[in-house]
C-alpha cells in the first residue's frame, strides 16, 4: 500500500505570514482578529475580521502578474512558495505529469466580484474589466499554482464551504495513495473579507461582534461564546508518496494516514452529529487507528452556539471514555474562520503541534459550558507528546472532511 507524507508546508493568515510566525502566535495565544482595515466597516453591525496584516502584494509579485490574480490566489501562491521551499522538492520534467494541485476555496475571487458588481450596480458601469472572470473563478488559485510549478498532473478545485481545504487535502492524499500521482500541492485559500460578503454573513446571525474587544471576540467552547469571526489566508502542503520522499532524503513532517468524508443530507446550515461522526470514524478506519490512540483534535470549533455543542457530541460519540483523555483545541479563536482555507491552516497547526510537542490553546475561554465539557486546552498552550491527531472540518451544507495525521516513525 502506498503511503503519503507531508514534506512541505506554507501558511499565511492574520496570525502570521509564514508557518513559524503563525505557529508562534498561536502557541502564545495571540489573536489576529481586529477592526477591519481593508475598507470602512462603520455601516456594519459586525466590524471585525481576521485580516492578514500589513499585506503589500506589490512587494511580493510583479505588477503584471498581480493584474491577473485576486487576493485569494495571491495567498495560495505565497503559501505554496513556502511549502515548496520547505520541501526542497525538485521534480524532473518526466515527473511533472504525476505532480498535481488540489486547492479548496469557499468564496473564490470575492474581492474581484464584489468590486466588479459594485461598478456594475452602484456606478452603472456598462461593462466590466476583461480580467474579472480569470481572477474570480474558483479554480484560479489551482491554475496559478500549476503554472508556477509546472504541475501537469490531476488538478482541481474543491468548493465545500468551510470544509473545502479539508476535502482538497484528502482528495490529493487519495490521488497519491491510489497511484494517480506521486506528489501534490494541496491546501486551501480564501480572501472573503468584502463588504458584500460581510453583509451577507451578518444576516445569518452567526458572527461575533466583539463588543469593542476584537481579539476576544471568538470564544469557542466557552459558555459566553457569541459566534465566529471571518478570516482570510491560505495553507498549502507538499504531499508526497513515501518512497519518493525517502529517495531524495526529504524531511518528513507527518504521515497523512486517514481521510473521512461524509454528508449530513440533513439541513443546509445546521450540523448533525451523525454525519461528522461518520467522517471521523472513516478517517480512523482508513488509518487503522483505534480511537484510544488519538492524542489531539484540532476542532472545527467555530465558536457558534450550535457547532461547538454538536462537535463535542461527535467527539463523545466516537471516542467514548477516551473523549475525556484526548485534548481538543480551536485555533479559530485566534486566526478566525478562514473559510475554504481553514482546514489547511488548521492542519498546519496540527502538524506543528506534533512537531513541537505543544498544543496551541483555545483562546478566550472564560466559562465552562455544561454542554461543552471536554478538555479544550483553555488559554494556555500545553506541552504534550502527540503521535496521532485529527483535524475536523464541518461545513455549511453538511459536508464533512476529517484528516488524520500520524507522526512518521
Amino acid at each position: 500500500m502506498r503511503r503519503v507524507v507531508i514534506t512541505g508546508m506554507g501558511a499565511i493568515a492574520s496570525t502570521g505570514k509564514n508557518v513559524a510566525s503563525f505557529m508562534g502566535n498561536l502557541v502564545a495565544g495571540r489573536s489576529g482578529i481586529r477592526r477591519i482595515t481593508l475598507w470602512d466597516p462603520s455601516a456594519l453591525s459586525v466590524q471585525i475580521a481576521a485580516e492578514v496584516p500589513d499585506y503589500v502584494p506589490t512587494d511580493l509579485f510583479p505588477l503584471k502578474r498581480l493584474d491577473l490574480i485576486d487576493r485569494f490566489a495571491q495567498f495560495a501562491l505565497i503559501a505554496a512558495r513556502e511549502a515548496m521551499e520547505s520541501s526542497q522538492i525538485k521534480l524532473a520534467e518526466e515527473e511533472l505529469p504525476r505532480f498535481g494541485v488540489v486547492t479548496g476555496t469557499g468564496m473564490g475571487g470575492a474581492q474581484t466580484f464584489d468590486g466588479a458588481f459594485f461598478n456594475l450596480y452602484a456606478k452603472n458601469a456598462t461593462r466590466l474589466h476583461p480580467f474579472t472572470i480569470p481572477k474570480m473563478m474558483h479554480n484560479a488559485a489551482t491554475s496559478q499554482l500549476c503554472m508556477e510549478y509546472g504541475a501537469l498532473g490531476p488538478s482541481l478545485t474543491v468548493a465545500t464551504a468551510c470544509s473545502s481545504s479539508g476535502h482538497a487535502i484528502g482528495e490529493a492524499f487519495h490521488l497519491i495513495k491510489f497511484g494517480l500521482a506521486d506528489a501534490m500541492l494541496a491546501g486551501g485559500t480564501d480572501a472573503p473579507i468584502t463588504f458584500g460578503m460581510l453583509r451577507a454573513w451578518e444576516s445569518v446571525r452567526v458572527l461575533a461582534s466583539g463588543d469593542g474587544n476584537p481579539s476576544r471576540a471568538c470564544r469557542p467552547f466557552s459558555a459566553d461564546r457569541e459566534g465566529m469571526v471571518i478570516g482570510e489566508g491560505a495553507g498549502i502542503f507538499v504531499l508526497e508518496e513515501l518512497t519518493h520522499a525517502q529517495r531524495r532524503g526529504a524531511k518528513i513532517y507527518a504521515e497523512i494516514a486517514g481521510y473521512g468524508a461524509s454528508s449530513d443530507a440533513n439541513h443546509i446550515t445546521q450540523p448533525s452529529v451523525a454525519g461528522p461522526a461518520r467522517a471521523v470514524r472513516l478517517a480512523l478506519a482508513e488509518a487503522r487507528v483505534n480511537p484510544e490512540e488519538v492524542d489531539y483534535i484540532n476542532a472545527h470549533g467555530t465558536g457558534t452556539r450550535l457547532n461547538d455543542v454538536t462537535e463535542t457530541q461527535v467527539v463523545k460519540e466516537v471516542f467514548k471514555d477516551h473523549a475525556r483523555r484526548l485534548v481538543i483545541s480551536s485555533t479559530k479563536s485566534m486566526h478566525g474562520h478562514t473559510m475554504g482555507a481553514t482546514g489547511a491552516i488548521e492542519l498546519v497547526a496540527t502538524v506543528m503541534a506534533m512537531e513541537q510537542g505543544v498544543i496551541p490553546p483555545t483562546a478566550n475561554y472564560t466559562q465552562p459550558d455544561p454542554e461543552c465539557d471536554l478538555d479544550y486546552v483553555p488559554n494556555q498552550a500545553r506541552e504534550k507528546n502527540v503521535r496521532v491527531a485529527i483535524s475536523n472540518s464541518f461545513a455549511f451544507g453538511g459536508l464533512n472532511a476529517v484528516l488524520l495525521v500520524r507522526r512518521f516513525e
Binding site: D67, R127, P130, F131
Partner: protein, 96 residues
C-alpha cells in the same frame, strides 16, 4: 496628444512596461503582448476614448500601428467592413 501617442501610453501603462519599450512600429508578439493582454488593452482604449471597439476590429490587432489605424477609423466613424472580413478565421482570444 494624438491617437498614436495615447495608444502607446496606454499600452505602456497596462503592460507595466518601461517608457520607450513600445513604439508605433512594435508588433504585439515582439513585446510579449498575448491575446488576453490584447483584450485588456482594447478595454482600456475603450474607456479612454469613450468608444466601443467592435470585436471584429479588436481581433485584428496584432501591432501598435494596426491599433492606431483601426482606432482612428472607429473614432472617425469610417467603414471597417474590411476588418470585419479579416476577422473571419482569426483565432479567438479565449477558448473553452
Amino acid at each position: 496628444m494624438d491617437v498614436a501617442d495615447k495608444v502607446i501610453e496606454i499600452i505602456t501603462r497596462e503592460q507595466h512596461f518601461e517608457p520607450g519599450k513600445v513604439t508605433i512600429d512594435s508588433t504585439f508578439a515582439e513585446v510579449g503582448i498575448d491575446s488576453l493582454d490584447g483584450v485588456n488593452i482594447m478595454f482600456a482604449l475603450e474607456e479612454e476614448f469613450k468608444i466601443e471597439i467592435p470585436d471584429a476590429v479588436a481581433q485584428n490587432m496584432r501591432s501598435v500601428r494596426q491599433v492606431v489605424d483601426g482606432l482612428t477609423r472607429v473614432i472617425e466613424g469610417k467603414d471597417i467592413s474590411d476588418l470585419v472580413a479579416m476577422a473571419e478565421g482569426q483565432t479567438p482570444v479565449a477558448g473553452n
